[in-house]
Each structure stands twice: as C-alpha cells, then as structure tokens.
C-alpha cells in the first residue's frame, strides 16, 4: 500500500503568518494572544484570543474573491497557496483529476453569516448577499480551494469539533491510497465575531482570565479553560512514490491514525482517548518507545487535562516522552488547531527541536507527563504523535514518521 507523505506546509497563525514566521515565533515561545480587537469584546467575561494581525486579503487574493469569502476562507486560500509553493509542485505535474481536497470545518464562515443574518433581520430578505448561499457553510473552504487550484479529484469536508483536522488528514491519506496523487488538507477557522464569541463562551470552557500569560494553561495546576484562536494550516499530502518521482523532499509520512468516541455518561462513561492512541500506534506499526514527542490536545480544562495526562502516562510510561502544547501561543483554533500541530510536529522533525509550551509553570499534581516548558528542547527525530479532541467525546490521534524512515522516500 502506498505511503502518504506531507510535502508542503502553509500556516496562518496568531503568532506568525507563513510557515517560517510561525515556526520561528513558536520556537521563541512568542505568543499571539491578547485582547480581542476584531469586535468590541469588553462586555464579555472572556476577552482574550489569538488573532492574526496584518492579514490583508487584497495582498494575496483577487479583488473578486473578497466579497464572497469569509475571513477564514480568505486565510485558507492563502495558506493553500503557501502550501503548494512550499511543496514546489510545478504546474502540470499532475492532471487535475489526480488532485483533491480534504479539509476540516468546524464553525464555518460565521462572521459572514452574522452580517447576513443582521442584513436579513434588520433590513429584509432582499438585503441578503448572493454569496451567503455558500460563504458560511462548512464545505466552503474545500470548494474554494478546489476551484482556486483546479483540483477535480475527490473533495470532502469533515466536521468533528477540534478533532476534525486529524480526521481530514486521515481522509487525505485514504484518498492517496485509493489513487489520488495529491490532496490539499488541513483546516482553518476564525468566526471572530460577537455571535461566534458568545457561542464559544456557552461551552463554559473559555478562560475568563484577562492576563494572556495566565489564561490558557494546559496541564497546569491553575488551568481554568482555554483561549480561542483563529487560523490553521493547509498541508500538501502526496503519494510517496509520486513525490519521489518529482524530486520532492517530504517532511514526513502520515504513518498511523486512530479515531474514537467517548462513551456517553448514560452508557457508563469511559474515555476513548487511549484507544485512539493505541489504534494510531498499531496502524503505524509503531511501539510506544518509537514515539519521541507528543503534541497534546491541551484542553486547558482540568478534567480533560487529567484524562489526557493519564492517557499519555499510561501508554508511554510516567514522564517517559516529551509532551508539548504549542497552542498555548495561538489559542485553540477549532479545525485549524490540529493541522497547525501537525505542521509543528513535522518541523520539529526537520529541525530536531521540540517547541515549548508557554506560560505553564507548575504541572498539576498527579500528571505524570514530561511537559516541555520554558525552552524548546532538542530531540533525536523519530516519530511524533499528535492528539486532538473535540467536545462531546471526539478523540483523534495521528502518528507522523520522519522522512528518512519512510520506505523509498528521499532522505
């Protein structure tokens, strides 16, 4: 069965626009979290977010695209451009039918949607934009990306809260195995508008702390919720042999994947994260000892932190593997979070360095994890595990393997 490798990375995050800026900022422990500026947040109990500064869509996109796209789609399109450029795919390498798209959605283009809802209800149906028929729905990024890059192969959208990003990459691998040569995959989210904000707050998982250095502290004794972020990543997933034939240098292989769902309380409860991890390891034919770093979901809600810490300790042994949460610098980016973590994992393999978790100082008692705090940490690149969880019980896990270990891939 053919391998699926990642050959290109495009990232747009609150602490860096573009893969290089994002990665450099991440290694420096630079946070993009501060008080929301996009709308007046002052009346809300939660006021911090990771917002992307300095993204001017007209710098990257034709004027024609602007009225018909929510901010998150604009960012996704630009990230997709960057990913393809990073992969160095020459036009004409693949036929249009050999390329597809698989993105994760989460909240859709809700800023666009809130504007149109406002138009409808304050002015009337005739004030609703023609573009509303697609601009706010979850499928929009996949659709617009496929049009922009002329990709006529399989195209899909997965929605599973904050776990969806890994599910989309798994779908990309599935399609590569079925014969598609190249898939643009990942997720980008924003919905930084009052309605999106209030919606997030109703989960009761948002931190109400006003200090960016203390608001989002996964695994910390003081954990009291998370901070939202906007942005994400688009990755180029390719058939390993096709990538090799065109001389591409993959970042790494999507080696294993597992997805589970927690048992509902009414069925006795029971967490599924460990099964997802074990499934991903088995799928990668990897032992726990092969994993050199875990990019944790890092919920920031004590109960979820506890489950994740216990799971990691149980699978790998107490303190046995470095764990990190670079999301502490960006906030939780809905469908964009896990793809950004995948980007970090791949870059940490490339550069043999693990990014830090910032702001966390004291790991909660009983969490037997080796959290990388303070400084980035060198490692011997091996395999990385990325975890993503979603409200309701979604658990996804993905194992990435460094390129040198991919059979037949260029070192």
């Amino acid at each position: 069965m053919t391998a699926a490798v990642v050959t290109g990375i495009g990232v747009a995050a609150p602490n860096g626009l573009g893969k290089d800026r994002f990665w450099a900022a991440t290694l420096r422990g630079e946070s993009g979290i501060r008080t929301v500026r996009r709308f007046d947040v002052s009346s809300y109990p939660s006021r911090l977010a990771g917002e992307i500064d300095g993204f001017e869509p007209t710098e990257y996109l034709a004027g024609r695209l602007i009225p018909q796209t929510d901010r998150m789609t604009q960012i996704a399109l630009v990230a997709s451009d960057w990913a393809l450029a990073d992969a160095g795919v020459e036009p004409g390498t693949y036929d249009t039918t050999e390329m597809g798209v698989a993105t994760a959605g989460a909240s859709g283009g809700l800023e666009f949607g809130q504007r149109e809802l406002a138009n409808l209800w304050s002015s009337g149906p005739q004030h609703v934009s023609v573009y509303m028929s697609f601009a706010w729905f979850y499928a929009v990024n996949s659709g617009q990306i496929s049009i922009r890059h002329g990709m006529r192969g399989p195209t899909g959208v997965m929605v599973s809260d904050q776990a969806g990003g890994l599910d989309a990459l798994a779908q990309a691998r599935r399609n590569v195995r079925k014969g598609t040569r190249l898939i643009l995959s990942g997720g980008v989210d924003s919905s930084f508008c009052p309605y999106g904000w209030v919606s997030r707050m109703s989960s009761r998982s948002l931190s109400t702390c006003d200090d960016p250095r203390s608001a989002y502290l996964p695994f910390d004794a003081r954990a009291q919720g998370h901070v939202p972020g906007e942005g994400g990543a688009i990755l180029v997933v390719e058939d390993a042999q096709a990538a090799r034939s065109r001389g591409a240098r993959p970042y790494g292989e999507i080696a294993g994947y597992g997805a589970t769902f927690d048992a509902a309380a009414r069925h006795g409860g029971g967490n599924g994260l460990r099964r997802a991890v074990e499934a991903a390891l088995a799928d990668a034919q990897a032992a726990a000892t092969d994993i050199g770093v875990v990019f944790a979901d890092g919920s920031g809600t004590p109960e979820d932190d506890r489950i994740e810490a216990e799971t990691i300790a149980a699978v790998f042994g107490p303190g046995a593997v470095p764990v990190t949460v670079p999301k502490t610098m960006t906030g939780r980016m809905n469908s964009g979070g896990a793809p950004a973590d995948l980007a970090c994992a791949l870059l940490s393999m490339r550069d043999a360095i693990i990014p830090p978790t910032i702001n966390v100082r004291t790991i909660a008692p009983g969490y037997e994890i080796d959290l990388v705090i303070g400084e980035p940490r060198p490692w011997q690149p091996g395999a990385a595990l990325v975890l993503a969880r979603g409200k309701g019980g979604f658990n996804s896990a993905m194992v990435l393997r460094a390129t040198a270990q991919v059979p037949g891939a260029t070192a």
Partner: protein, 422 residues
Amino acid sequence: MSGRRVVITGLGVVAPGGVNTKAFWEAITSGRTATRLITAFDPAAFRSQIAAEVDFDPVQAGLSHREMRRLDRAAQFALVATRESLSDSGLEPGRLDPTRVGVSVGSAVGCTVRLESEYLVLSDSGREWVVDNSYASPHLYDYYMPGSLAAEVAWEVNAQGPVTMISAGCTSGLDSLGHAADLIREGTVDVMLAGGTDAPISPITVSCFDAIKATSPGNDDAAHALRPFDRTRTGFVLGEGAAMLVLEELEYARARGAKLYAEITGFASRSNAFHMTGLRPDGAELAAAVTAALDESKLPADAIDYVNAHGTATKQNDLHETVALKTALGDHAYRIPVSSIKSMIGHSLGAVGSIEIAACALAIDQGIVPPTANLNEPDPELDLDYVPHQAREQHLDTVLTVGSGFGGFQSAMVLVRPGSPA
C-alpha cells in the same frame, strides 16, 4: 485490503410526506408531492414561499422534553431516524462491541434553525452587532459546532468508534454513506450508523437561495413546483428531513441473520473545480464519479438498472446531469429509468443524498422504481426515460445514485441487490 463488503441492514427516514420509512416509501411510490406553502414561518416577504416540510411532532416522534430543548430540528430528525433504523436492523446496541461501531452524519447547514432563532434573541432581532451574552442558551455551542449532530447519534447507539459529520453541501448525505462504507471496508468498524440530516427551512436559508434564484417561485402551485427534467422547470423547492441507515460488514450481518437491503459496492467523489454554484454543461466530473464508482464495483455501465437522479429541477442541473449520465453510461442511459424523488420530497440539501440511498435500497428490495412527479412537458434537450408520474414495478439488481453540490462536489454511489449475480 481484505475482502470486506458493506451492506445496508436498517433504514430510518424522516421525510416530507412520511415521518417513517413506510410512510415515506408509500408517499413517493404513489407519486404524491409534499411541497406546499411554508408554514414554519410567514413566507410572504420571500421570493420562494414554498417548501417540503416534515409534519413533525417531536412528542409523537418519541422525543423527551429535554431532547426537544437541547436539540436543533436537524438533530431531532437524526435521532428519530437513528432509532428507527436501529430497530429496523434488529441490532441491539447493548450487545455490540461499541468500539467497533461508528457514526457518519451528513449535513450541509448543520443547526441553522437554532443558530438563527438564538441569533434573534441575542441580537434583539438583528439590531445589535455585539450580541447579548446573558441570553445565550447553554446549548448554543452545539449549534455553533455542528459535529454535535454526529455526537448525538453516537450517544444514542453507544458508538465508540470513529464518529464524524460530513459536510459537503448537497452531496453530504451521499458522501456520508461513502465514508461509512470506507471505514467498514478498512476494518476499523463492523457497524456504522450513517446518513444525513438537514432542517434548512429557516428565513436565512430561504433568503440565500432566493438571492441566487435557485429555488422555485412557483408559489401559486406549490404541489407542482419542483419539476425535474421538465421544459418549464423553475428551480428546486427547499426540503428538510433525515435518513439514517445501518451499515454492516457483510459476513457480520450474515452471521446474525440480518435482513440485507442492498450492498454498497462503489462510491466516488469528484469536484468540478469550476464555480461555487455554477455547473459546466459537459458534466465531466459527475461522469467521472459515476465511472469511478462503477470501477470500484467492478461493474460495467450496462449493469445499471436504475438511476436515482440528483434532479433538482434547476435549468443547469438537469442538463448537467443528463449529459453526465450519457457520458458515463453511453447508450445504456437511454435504456434505463432515471427518476428524481426530489420532485416529491423537495431538496433537503445534506439529508437528501441519504434519503435517496434509502429509496434506492427500498427500490431494490421491493422491485419498484419511484417516479419523477410533475414531469408534464419533457425538455426536448433531456431525452432519457425519467419515469413520469407513475412508479414502475421492475426487478432491480444494480442501482446508481448521483449528487452535485455547491462548492463543486460531484458524487456517485452504486448499490447492488444482495445475492445478485452482479
């Protein structure tokens, strides 16, 4: 991959004209249309004032008051359909290994009904941009992040395998079943609750289809407004509903003596990469999806006995689809019935693909081809046999269903009678 195969063993449908599978099938095989003037709200200010609504009484449908409070209408449909399909399949969740059960729910617009109604409260009818947090429902997050639709189904059946929502516009319901079939074939799960749900009959969705003039303004004759393949067609009529199907690995189903409706032998997705709402008349990518689905099924084009069409009755779709079918099936396209049940149940976006698959399973099981209603004046450019008005008895071994969606999605699935030589 091993030789794992996927069969449909249970059906649950909530559709306009039929709040359960039996009523739904009876309605569409008698050619009865469910399109009417919108009753969910006052449609007077809208261009298209009609819809195919489900006469849904949540209490009668078995929902508790907490479920009614918590769940968006689309989630309510999905839950009711899930319960019916589970019961139909004979599977008992308590006796399944939950880690081998997954869920895939397709939806295009998620929890729009509740998102809109909550918005009205929080924004004071659109007057305030900075909406008032103090009125927010504790369930608002679940409407905002509609993966909750899949979560609800998972809780209902205690699925602890992979659970996801598929949101690819109007092909969501089809793609959801394709995804579920993939997971079973891969060996990750043995059972999937798979389907689609949408409840888009809400002012914001009605407005956005009004804006692009995609929906029919045939308000004076609602019952006949959705006229697929007809020369006088004027667009689609918004519908709502859900279908949830139980999918099982074939040997697993056989071992327990399950009733097998149909086997899913092939599925393919393509994109026209052309325009978010427009279609190129050559239908090339839909044709490619059909061909790929046939290839996966290891079947030739002339194995198809019936095509369940996308048939939305827009000028562009019906032509696009007809050309695509001719391209993919050649002359054989002329020899088989092609019908659109949207003529009767409306277009329920992300749900309809699953409802149509349920119809295909029943068509195979019962040997009846549902008709295309309202087809009085065939468009001369569209010259296939669209089964006007009357259902037809016909033994079916192999059925093709297709869909196209905003965003360029083009999908196709092949279903086969269990035990047929195909």
